[in-house]
Symmetry: D3
Subunit: 164 residues, 6 copies
Amino acid sequence: MEKTPKIAIYPGSFDPITNGHIDIIKRAIMLFDQVIVSVTRNLSKSPLFDETERVQMIRESLNDFPHISVESFDGLLIDYAREKQASAIIRGLRAVSDFEYEFQMALVNRKLHDDVVTVFLMTHDKYSYLNSSIVKELVRLGGDVDFFVPAHVRTRLEEKLRVK
Amino acid sequence: MEKTPKIAIYPGSFDPITNGHIDIIKRAIMLFDQVIVSVTRNLSKSPLFDETERVQMIRESLNDFPHISVESFDGLLIDYAREKQASAIIRGLRAVSDFEYEFQMALVNRKLHDDVVTVFLMTHDKYSYLNSSIVKELVRLGGDVDFFVPAHVRTRLEEKLRVK
Amino acid sequence: MEKTPKIAIYPGSFDPITNGHIDIIKRAIMLFDQVIVSVTRNLSKSPLFDETERVQMIRESLNDFPHISVESFDGLLIDYAREKQASAIIRGLRAVSDFEYEFQMALVNRKLHDDVVTVFLMTHDKYSYLNSSIVKELVRLGGDVDFFVPAHVRTRLEEKLRVK
Amino acid sequence: MEKTPKIAIYPGSFDPITNGHIDIIKRAIMLFDQVIVSVTRNLSKSPLFDETERVQMIRESLNDFPHISVESFDGLLIDYAREKQASAIIRGLRAVSDFEYEFQMALVNRKLHDDVVTVFLMTHDKYSYLNSSIVKELVRLGGDVDFFVPAHVRTRLEEKLRVK
Amino acid sequence: MEKTPKIAIYPGSFDPITNGHIDIIKRAIMLFDQVIVSVTRNLSKSPLFDETERVQMIRESLNDFPHISVESFDGLLIDYAREKQASAIIRGLRAVSDFEYEFQMALVNRKLHDDVVTVFLMTHDKYSYLNSSIVKELVRLGGDVDFFVPAHVRTRLEEKLRVK
Amino acid sequence: MEKTPKIAIYPGSFDPITNGHIDIIKRAIMLFDQVIVSVTRNLSKSPLFDETERVQMIRESLNDFPHISVESFDGLLIDYAREKQASAIIRGLRAVSDFEYEFQMALVNRKLHDDVVTVFLMTHDKYSYLNSSIVKELVRLGGDVDFFVPAHVRTRLEEKLRVK
């Protein structure tokens, strides 16, 4: 009897992808047969990078990894997850403030449909303080972000934020 | 090509197993091919139930579930997990206080060996306040624990704690 | 000698009222002789429902409860509470993030006037993740909110958010 | 028709009572017709003061306040509260760590019986760091606790802890 | 051999300075030879007071203190700190929510340059709930802020916010 | 005019010293003219290493650092700090749970004497999960603690804990 492959989605705005996100994705692929990195199409606040750019930067960052795909989505996350036949929604946790918001969303999603499990992975301690907003702020102020994002993301950030 | 089955361990003292633990195990089995419920043999504080009783109560609670096994272990958790060829260590998260301790242990384990991923699952909101200590305290004081543990666990708790 | 009735106010934006709010109000009326649900007239961010609609939805949700009145207010909460001869300001607590903001406001209010007591009630665990923003977001994305708000609130939400 | 008086219980170990406890009791009496300060008879860890001493110190601290009574109890808190026909269980909140434990107990009590409401009052900011353990530790090490407890409690503490 | 004086910077938006900030500055000057209060020139959200007004209000509040200077800055905080030959960046901590954001920034700054130490000082308990936003909101609603800011800051706040 | 040297004490049980403690000490010496590492003589729970051993291990770990001294103390921390003419008490902060306990102690100490400032330094992210208890537990279970403590501390830990 053939085993059904286990699929996980990793949703986010990825504006842009950071080394923290990449660390989570590499952990997720150790657990699931396929990981779909799912870029939120319409964000409530306007993103720095448009949907296409955000997807491209993720793809370039994950070239070497098999069993990972990247796409964008909109609508209700839990409906999207079920359409993809995902067993799991992956979320990275860094700090207590993450924890509360993430739990709230996980509980709402579980209430809506009980057949997709939200799975929390811990961000590596060396990226525990990292998020996309801080990276953008650093580039804006002229700081060095080599440690925080892949080189190609850094280049794009500088093009967007330092030309002005 | 055959896919390697994904194994997860769910370690704990389970003194005794509660409906909160059972909820986590049912979620874990939606994600992994096999879940090993692993009872800590030697606890720092002396348990109410001995190792054999704790294992038995878990087995009775999970009779109907395939792909779940129960055993006890001692030594370093991460060594045990690798010996079992586990991809994941499952931990339930309920509250902020859980969160900090669990993250600390997950970071230590990741530092020791990077090839087993700690996976956090969210306890169902209706069990968010539940733990084994509260259940024991309630039985000791004559409270009703039907909502909190399976009937056979309740019976054992009353035998242990109300005879006195 | 006649006892002075104890009055409590329950302030909020209620944009719209949820089942979590209703649970708090039902608990408050077990404690006080009169509960005034007090809708903040001018919000810093523009509400989905205007003041009249927000008051109406609360009234429709609480038709069957005596000793509850609904009104709107503006100005300083503590001044309004004293004008109403309230002994207490009711606040619902769900999570740690609530806790800190609510404590801050309670301490400021106590500093301004020491004769009104801020009273925190715990939201029922089944609504612990619920707030008005999540309900609006769910309706906007086509999610089912039957569990979260009364039927008449759901209808109004769909009229506002799905027509577009 | 006569109004039923609203009774609240304020349970604790009070080993010994501090100025923080007294602040909470004064706030509670602004809200309820009667407040019963309820001393836990059997504590899991052995108290510094026995049950009679703990009750006496509370009585001496609250001499001037009408509508307050002091007694000891054992057994399940929620059963005791119902026997006293209490509408409310009062709990003081100081910090996030309090919050989680207190919520857990309030949710368990609500699950056991839904007719007694747990009410959280905020400790005055000037006592936000205060608890009985710290007071005992300070006296043991020769520190001045005038700000933290009434004079008669201070005397008893010094008799117990400095004789040695 | 002459000892190099230890310089600390205390950065912030100070829109306006409160008694909580002043308490931190007085503590900092007990530790360092010189404290530079550094006003963020360009804020992401538009401030109530412009840069010049914010600097003036701080100067008027700290007239009597030697070894304190006030200036404004923009760009990356850590670069500014090094340019000033500061050993330390001072940050006030009040609550858990402060804690996480502040740690994140301190870790980022340490990653960028390891030679400036972020030093956290505890806000006095009587100002633990205080921040510039609450003060502005209180003045806007007609509340009394005498306890929260120096008299000259109160006057300026009323001029700005009550004329409208 | 001669400048009075600024002295800081860094109190703790250090049972044993870890790389996290050493990181804090190195940061503290960047800020103060002298740092006294102060080992708590009598601990409430019995330590693994006696007072002399704990002092020795700290001294061996800090051989290369000038301006650091190590001693043991008992009694009230704030009295000891004043006797040493210290301006500051250094405390390391790692996580939210640290934060609350540390703030409580800092507020008590400030209430007792206002002339010594508690200064919080942030533990390096790579040691954010580290404490002496975890290190002892790891050695007890046969884990590798090279990353967590200096080599000479590791040797002593193994002598104490693995002989059994």
